[in-house]
């Protein structure tokens, strides 16, 4: 069932998940116009009753947030399962239209939390997955995400992406045109929101490292003279989560920006602008060696590696207007990718390598779209007054992007690869430049 997503992508407008198959996974039918979520019952037996409700809430939000699941309210349950050893009465669960049942138990011993979980396919009356996890009780939220991952993975046939984080830039408008930019991070579901910078420095475009331990971003170092800000330089920095420390990547003559890591985390690629030219460079984080990849009297920016590290997609005006180009990772064999109406920008390769997401804009407005790396299959997923800067969920099931409305309210939105389920992501302040981390994993 690993080609589940593929099927969805091809037939995005006419999809319905329905019923089940012998293997216990979802079968995709391509003959109805609506996407129908899977009914799942989430049961947790908790001897101490202290964590059950909050853990359930996290799992429920994860699964329902994917729009592929609908959870059955606990009040409807006709059987009270007290632990994973108890076998469900399948008829009682079928009676409330359950397709899948997650039956779990939690044991709290001092600071240690043990979770056991069994997943049933109700219609085929079979146990389809078992999972156990133990850790510190402080990690209860992460454990809940791991449980949701497991459910998602077994039923949808793809890795779950609930144990992930979102980096973004929070913006706040003050009187007299002053705007503050702060780096912020939160869990994929909005929990654990935290500001990483104090807003005195203008910061943009945070990009997560492949292992999720650090990120890089673009910032202006400034001083204040007679009350106004004078820039000293504009370049790329790295932030380490473990130590909360920032370090300069390197300072060059000119401005460096639009950074991204290579898939193995050993290089950064970015734009360097000087003398009216912007070219793409590769910087070795270990040896500090820099290599120029593109040249010419044009603007080359927003570079992004393919997941196998062999190619780089970027944005260039070398042909007259902003379009997407692909080149080999060493800068050779540059070829144009986009030929549609308008301008194309901010290309981002999907984690599976099958799509490149982009911003397209022109007379018809602003769009977030996707295109195959061979130039076929282009389609738009979302539009708005101003949308830009897409970022993929690990696995490529969903995208987030920056969305500005007519009143210049900046928010992050989320949309499914099918173009369905576009919705706003809650952030305390305005938000731009979202960046979705890879799966963080259990320890």
């Amino acid at each position: 069932m690993f080609n589940f997503i593929k099927k969805i992508c091809v037939c995005f407008s006419v999809i319905c998940f329905s019923t089940y198959s012998d293997s216990g996974k979802v079968v995709v039918n391509i003959n109805e116009g609506v996407m129908k979520p899977v009914n799942i019952a989430l049961n947790i037996y908790d001897g101490t009753q202290s964590l059950k409700d909050i853990v359930l809430k996290v799992i429920q939000k994860d699964l329902e947030g994917s729009f592929l699941f609908r959870t059955i309210p606990n009040a409807a349950f006709m059987q009270n399962l007290k632990g994973v050893d108890e076998t469900p009465s399948f008829a009682l669960w079928r009676a409330i239209k359950t397709q899948y049942l997650m039956n779990a138990e939690m044991h709290l011993k001092g600071e240690s939390l043990q979770v056991n979980m069994v997943l049933y396919d109700i219609l085929s009356q079979s146990k389809i997955s078992e999972y156990s996890l133990s850790g510190s009780v402080k990690e209860w939220r992460k454990m809940a995400h791991m449980m949701a991952n497991k459910v998602y993975e077994r039923i949808i046939g793809e890795k779950g992406y609930f144990d992930t984080r979102i980096l973004y830039v929070a913006t706040q408008q003050f009187p007299r045109g002053v705007k503050k930019y702060r780096l912020a991070v939160m869990d994929q579901d909005g929990a654990n929101h935290k500001y990483l910078t104090n807003g005195n420095t203008m910061v943009l475009t945070p990009r997560m490292s492949p292992n999720g331990k650090e990120f890089c971003f673009f910032a202006y170092r400034e001083k204040k003279v007679n009350g106004r800000r004078i820039p000293l330089d504009a370049c790329i920095y790295r932030y380490d989560f473990a130590t909360s420390r920032t370090q300069l990547v390197a300072r060059f003559k000119g401005m460096t920006y639009a950074p991204r890591y290579s898939p193995d985390g050993s290089y950064l690629i970015f734009s360097l602008s000087k003398g009216g030219q912007s070219s793409i460079y590769r910087f070795d984080l270990l040896t500090k060696q820099i290599t120029r990849l593109t040249k010419g009297n044009c603007i080359d920016t927003s570079p992004c590696y393919s997941p196998d590290g062999k190619y780089i997609v970027f944005n260039s005006d070398r042909g007259g207007t902003q379009q997407l180009y692909i080149m080999n990772a060493d800068g050779t064999n540059i070829r144009r990718l986009s030929f549609g109406k308008g301008r194309y920008a901010t290309p981002v390769w999907s984690p599976r390598g099958d799509w490149i997401a982009f911003t397209r804009f022109g007379r018809e407005g602003f769009f977030i779209g996707v295109i195959h790396p061979d130039g076929t299959g282009e389609r738009m997923l979302a539009s708005g007054y101003l949308v830009e800067a897409p970022t993929w969920s690990p696995g490529g099931r969903e995208l987030m992007f920056a969305h500005q409305d007519y009143n210049r309210k900046d928010k992050i939105f989320r949309v499914d690869i099918t173009g369905y389920n576009k919705h706003e992501v809650n952030t305390p302040l305005n938000a731009i430049d979202p960046e979705w981390s890879a799966n963080l994993g259990w320890h």
Binding site: K179, L196, T201, F252, G276, A389, D433
Partner: protein, 160 residues
């Protein structure tokens, strides 16, 4: 504050080494607000705005200098030649109807075009610094076509 020349990279073929003397200690994320006050500078900065003008405008997605802009830049070059000790900062800006990273590049291109013009008219390049803010430092605007046009600009100011 001049651009640190010692931090420049030495170009060898396509590869050059990074300047790493700056080390890992710099932290922009917790930078403090310091305000340097220089009254003479303030007077000269105001004089520059009044007598030379501090804005040069561009067309959408363009960085070429128009006739109207040329007049402003010529006045600025004359002012700078008469005030040898003063240095200027050229900030490149773009309207908001574009993508962030491309606009950073476009702002740089605009700032560079203005800097080259001043240099061609007798102002030493050492006295000119450029920076681009892309679309992220717009002047208060409500989004009418005219105002969007006014966002495509470079702002030139006396800074030291």
């Amino acid at each position: 504050m001049k651009i640190k020349n010692k931090n420049l990279v030495s170009l060898v073929a396509l590869a050059f080494l990074a300047a790493c003397e700056c080390g890992p200690k710099e932290d922009v994320t917790t930078s403090e607000e310091q305000n340097i006050v220089d009254n003479d500078l303030s007077t000269d900065a105001k004089d520059f705005i009044a007598n030379a003008g501090d804005r040069v405008f561009y067309d959408f997605d363009k960085s070429n200098i128009s006739k109207e802009s040329e007049a402003t830049l010529l006045r600025q070059s004359e002012w700078l030649k008469a005030h040898e000790k003063r240095n200027v900062l050229i900030e490149g800006h773009c309207d908001e109807r574009g993508t962030r990273e491309y606009n950073l590049a476009l702002g740089e291109r605009r700032a560079d075009a203005a800097a080259k013009f001043l240099a061609d008219h007798g102002v030493s390049p050492n006295r000119i610094r450029t920076v681009s803010y892309g679309k992220d430092r717009p002047i208060a605007a409500t989004g009418t076509q005219q105002e969007i046009h006014r966002l495509n600009r470079v702002a030139i100011s006396v800074i030291e």
